[in-house]
């Protein structure tokens, strides 16, 4: 009867072997040989029909496995008298879901514990993924957003940004093939008069006419602005931001066509700009206006350029093309700058980026602890469900079925845990947002997007697989089966080492988090105690901008500044007032270093020099000690007059023999020299964590004369108390004026430490949760071990073992895996900690204090977790125990 030659292909045979496992045991045991022969026979039959025989044969086998096999199972079950409702895999799984739900509902405390444990891990994971997604992974939310970036003009050495000229902008727009358009925007403010009070200061975005079309954004109501609004003579129109529209205008659709008075001009509202269409990490603007045609570039103000790379183009190519297009354009102020297309996350501080990724690893570790803990709980419970499992196995439940049962249970717990976790992340996100570094907007909207939910589900899936598979495969081993169906006598068995391994894993992961938290906190403390070199605690800083419409001449401006200075000085509690072109911690940066004339230039301290301007009383107000010479002009000067003198810092002066006061200094590449009139102490010019010692110099300033100035006010007490009065005094001089910004020295410091505080807090939270979860894990494992060893303990006590020995025995049992976990965790931390370096400050990744504290804390927690079951072991009544066995 055999026609055709040769055996079936190996793949087909392998498939048939896999599919055979779907048939019931009776069939497998009785008909395995027939099945194999049938496979070969089918192959031969199909071979005679021509090409594609393997596929056709495989299809027959597959159809048979999914239709005939379930029927055979039903028949087999009916023969054994066991009711099986549903033979297909879907029906079986649904049955397992019902069984699982009933089983979990019967043990609400256990279920709640596992759900909370998993929820903590999954929630933290989802929450942090939301943050990562918002700031690192998600491109700008526009069409082609993943290719969008910002064109910047940078000093190559320092990264300082500059703005283009109109000519350059047009050259780029016309000539750049690597970019799909360049649109421009600037941030400004507008004043809206308010009855009975100072005017309302609104944030205003000035945009190029083509921006809305470029981004593909449509107005929520009304229309967006376009080229028609930028033509000369076009009526002044404005868009209102959606957040402002909601907050102040009650989302009234009738806002379209309404008129507003802004900066003394009446404008008409054309529409509402949607809140989702934010251009960068700043908050959505209150207002949006279009820049008149031909005036898009304004080198005196920071102009931001948004662009989209052409498909397939990388930023480096675009940079090169933009640089090439700059050749020959007259732009003196841009001489030293080079263009660069920066993708959005390049604007985040490196410490924050590192911190985010570190927190991500921390979250994965926490999730690991949670999953391991949940697995351990499920395993322990599976062992105590011995009777039920034993019955199932005896009734012929296949290993696959058992695995499915555990997977379903694990999956149910993980799904509920994921739901709880997402809720936790939402709540936690709101709390974190309140604490997050000030420049980052509301994090709650980061949590509820599809990707975050997917991340939570992915974590839940991993948890399901591990939590389900580990107990299931463990229980299928013959030795364990004997245990489940046996007398429960205490013997050496495989269950204990696995449970201990899980405890070790939890403790190790928790230690990594705890050390990370310790390092974070110590960095934070180190940063907080840094001496900035000036008296930051008692400073208030106000910036005021004079509208050119009402302060057109130098005289008008100088008169205002003089009056404002006097007003501020007269506020009770104010000890001194000065002005500067830069705020504290934000000096300007210039490439190269000035050199004392007539001396061999010493090796430069750094690639560039920090610079600030210093008006009358500057050093006194700032609290910067004058070490030599003077910090003021020698005689009276008129505001606006060029003083032509400078003061240098100690680091600069020390490198020259003798005193530098009275010597002339020249700047590389620039004509002329400037005399040094004083030497002052070094300060932290660019941030609290800026420990690099650079040359710093101050150009003496004759006093405020421009249209934008920064007041620095020294106060006797808390500077925050002076801010309100300061605002009032300014508005008192000119009711239409409101300070552009007002902050205090302590607030600046808080801003400086915000990133690290955020990171330290995150790691601290994760470390605490991990500690709690790991402790619970230790407790659970030890409690189970004590329970299993009742008989043994009973025997020991009956034989006269004292309480001390019993307790030591239990402690030894429980603490051994903890101790191993501490060692493993210590090694793991040493490997991972160096990645934290960028986010640390004055603390090394191997800081012994952090390690010691974490080990002590976890060790103590582990010990305490062992003590409770140990004490319970003491209460074992030996007679009763032995009798019941």
């Amino acid at each position: 009867m055999s026609r055709g030659e040769g055996r079936a292909p190996r793949l087909l045979r392998a498939l048939s072997r896999i599919l055979l496992r779907l048939y019931p045991r009776g069939f497998r045991q009785g008909r395995a040989a027939d099945y194999r022969e049938a496979v070969e026979h089918r192959w031969r039959l199909e071979r005679e029909r021509g090409g594609g025989a393997g596929w056709r044969a495989a299809r027959v086998l597959l159809v048979d496995a999914f239709t005939a096999a379930p029927e055979l199972r039903r028949d087999e079950a009916a023969r054994f008298g066991v009711r099986r409702s549903g033979g297909t895999m879907i029906e079986g799984t649904w049955q397992d879901v019902r069984i699982g739900l009933r089983s979990l509902a019967r043990r609400p405390a256990f279920t709640a514990l596992v759900v909370l444990t998993l929820g903590a891990g999954i929630g933290a994971h989802a929450g942090l993924y939301g943050v990562l997604d918002r700031f690192m992974l998600r491109p700008l939310p526009f069409e082609g957003g993943e290719r969008m970036g910002f064109v910047t003009l940078l000093f190559p050495e320092t990264g300082g940004m500059g703005s283009p000229t109109q000519e350059l902008l047009e050259r780029w727009r016309e000539g750049a093939t690597t970019l799909e358009g360049i649109e421009v925007y600037r941030q400004g403010t507008a004043l809206r008069p308010v009855p009975d009070g100072p005017p309302e200061r609104l944030s205003r975005l000035e945009v190029s006419p083509g921006l809305a079309a470029f981004l593909g954004v449509e107005a929520v109501v009304g229309r967006t602005l376009g080229p028609d609004d930028a033509r000369p003579g076009a009526p002044p129109t404005v868009l209102v931001g959606e957040a402002y529209w909601t907050r102040e205008l009650g989302r009234d659709p009738g806002v379209v066509g309404r008129t507003l008075t802004l900066n003394d001009t009446t404008v008409t509202v054309a529409g509402v700009w949607p809140a989702w269409a934010t251009l960068d990490f700043d908050d959505a603007p209150d207002l949006m206006v279009v820049i008149p045609e031909g005036a898009e570039a304004d080198p005196s103000r920071l102009t931001l350029m948004i662009t989209r790379l052409a498909p397939g183009v990388d930023p480096e190519r675009a940079d090169a093309e933009l640089a090439a297009l700059m050749e020959g354009v007259e732009f003196e102020s841009l001489r030293r700058r080079s263009p660069h297309v920066a993708m959005p996350n390049e604007f985040l501080a490196p410490a924050f980026v590192t911190g985010l990724w570190v927190a991500w690893v921390g979250v994965l570790l926490l999730l690991g602890v949670a999953v391991v803990n949940a697995t351990s709980l499920l395993l322990n419970r599976a062992v105590t469900r011995g009777e039920e499992i034993g019955v199932r196995l005896a009734l012929g439940s296949s290993g696959a079925r058992l695995v499915r049962l555990f997977l379903v249970e694990g999956g149910l717990l993980a799904l509920v845990g994921a739901g709880a976790g997402l809720a936790l992340a939402r709540w936690g996100g709101a709390a974190l947002a309140a604490m997050a570094p000030g420049r980052f907007p509301d994090l709650t909207d980061a949590v509820w997007n599809g990707r975050v939910v997917l991340a939570a589900l992915a974590a839940a899936l991993v948890a399901t697989v591990i939590c389900g598979l580990v107990p299931a495969t463990h229980l299928r081993s013959p030795a364990v089966r004997h245990l489940l169906t046996g007398s429960g006598a205490s013997r050496r068995r495989r269950g204990v080492p696995l449970g201990a391994a899980l405890v070790t894993a939890q403790v190790a992961l928790a230690l990594v988090l705890a050390v990370g938290a310790g390092l974070g906190f110590r960095s934070l403390r180190a940063l907080a105690t840094v001496d900035p070199g000036f008296d930051v605690e008692r400073l208030a800083i106000l910036a005021v901008s004079l509208p050119s419409a009402r302060y057109a001449t130098d005289e008008e401006r100088i008169a205002f500044w003089a009056r404002a200075t006097d007003e501020l000085r007269s506020i009770p509690g104010v000890e001194g007032v000065t002005t500067s072109g830069v705020p504290p911690f934000s000096f300007s940066i210039f490439p190269g270093e000035p050199v004392v004339v007539g001396e061999d230039p010493p090796p430069p301290l750094d690639e560039f020099t920090s610079q600030a301007s210093a008006a009358e009383d500057y050093f006194e107000v700032m609290g910067i000690p004058i070490l030599e010479g003077r910090g003021e002009p020698a005689g009276p000067v008129e505001p606006g007059e060029n003083v032509g003198e400078m003061v240098v810092n100690r680091a600069f002066a020390e490198r020259y023999p003798g005193s530098v006061v009275g010597r002339e200094v020249e700047f590389p590449g620039m004509p002329g020299t400037t005399p040094i009139v004083g030497v002052v102490e070094n300060v932290r010019a660019h941030g609290l964590d800026d420990g690099r010692q650079r040359a710093q110099y101050y150009m003496l300033d004759s006093g405020p004369a421009g249209s934008y100035e920064r007041f620095i006010v020294r106060t006797a007490g808390d500077p925050a108390s002076v801010l309100a009065a300061a605002r009032e005094r300014i508005t008192g001089i000119d009711p239409l004026l409101v300070p552009a910004s007002a902050t205090t020295g302590p607030e600046l410091v808080r801003g400086q430490t915000a990133d690290r505080r955020f990171l330290a807090t995150l790691l601290g939270i994760f470390g605490s949760i991990a500690l709690l979860v790991a402790s619970l894990g230790v407790y659970g494992a030890v409690a189970l071990a004590v329970n299993r060893r009742r008989r043994e303990t009973g025997v020991r006590v009956a034989l006269g073992a004292g309480t001390g020995r019993v307790v030591r025995h239990v402690l030894g049992l429980g603490f051994r895996p903890v101790a191993v976990g501490l060692v493993v965790g210590g090694i793991l931390t040493r490997v991972l900690a160096p990645y934290l370096r960028a986010a640390l400050y004055e603390v090394g990744p191997a800081d012994p204090v952090s390690y010691a504290a974490a080990v002590a804390l976890l060790g103590a927690a582990g010990l305490a977790a062992c003590l409770i079951p140990a004490r319970r072991a003491l209460r074992v009544d030996p007679v009763r125990t032995l009798r019941s066995e």
Partner: protein, 112 residues
């Protein structure tokens, strides 16, 4: 099968056995050949149905002389019982009636 109608695999197996006893793979080959590959019995379908048919008394195993060309004396052979033949006939007649309805409604063309 409890309600009197035959499943497709059952019908095919009974049909294959209607002219002479066969073993399992012989049944598969007969069905495959007669329908030109349109009907293919998988091993689970074959043996499961055979078992049910045997339980219901429609087929039985036989000791009759195997196919002289068959070189494996271990093969189990099956034959149709009278009950099985009756059931087969009834089902075939039923199917013919259905075909006549289909022809009457011009779903199928009448055979020439």
């Amino acid at each position: 099968m409890g309600d009197g109608s035959l499943t497709r695999p059952a019908f095919l197996i009974l049909l294959a056995l209607s002219d002479r006893p066969r073993h399992g793979l012989g049944i598969v080959e007969e069905v495959d050949t007669r329908t030109d590959g349109a009907e293919k019995l998988g091993p689970g379908s074959l043996y499961g149905t055979l078992k049910r048919l045997a339980t219901d008394g429609l087929v039985r195993e036989t000791d009759e002389a195997p196919d002289p060309t068959d070189d494996d004396p271990r093969r189990r052979y099956y034959r149709l019982t009278e009950t099985g033949r009756d059931a087969l006939r009834a089902e075939a007649a039923h199917l013919r009636t259905l075909v006549e309805v289909a022809v009457g409604k011009h779903v199928l063309e009448a055979e020439a």
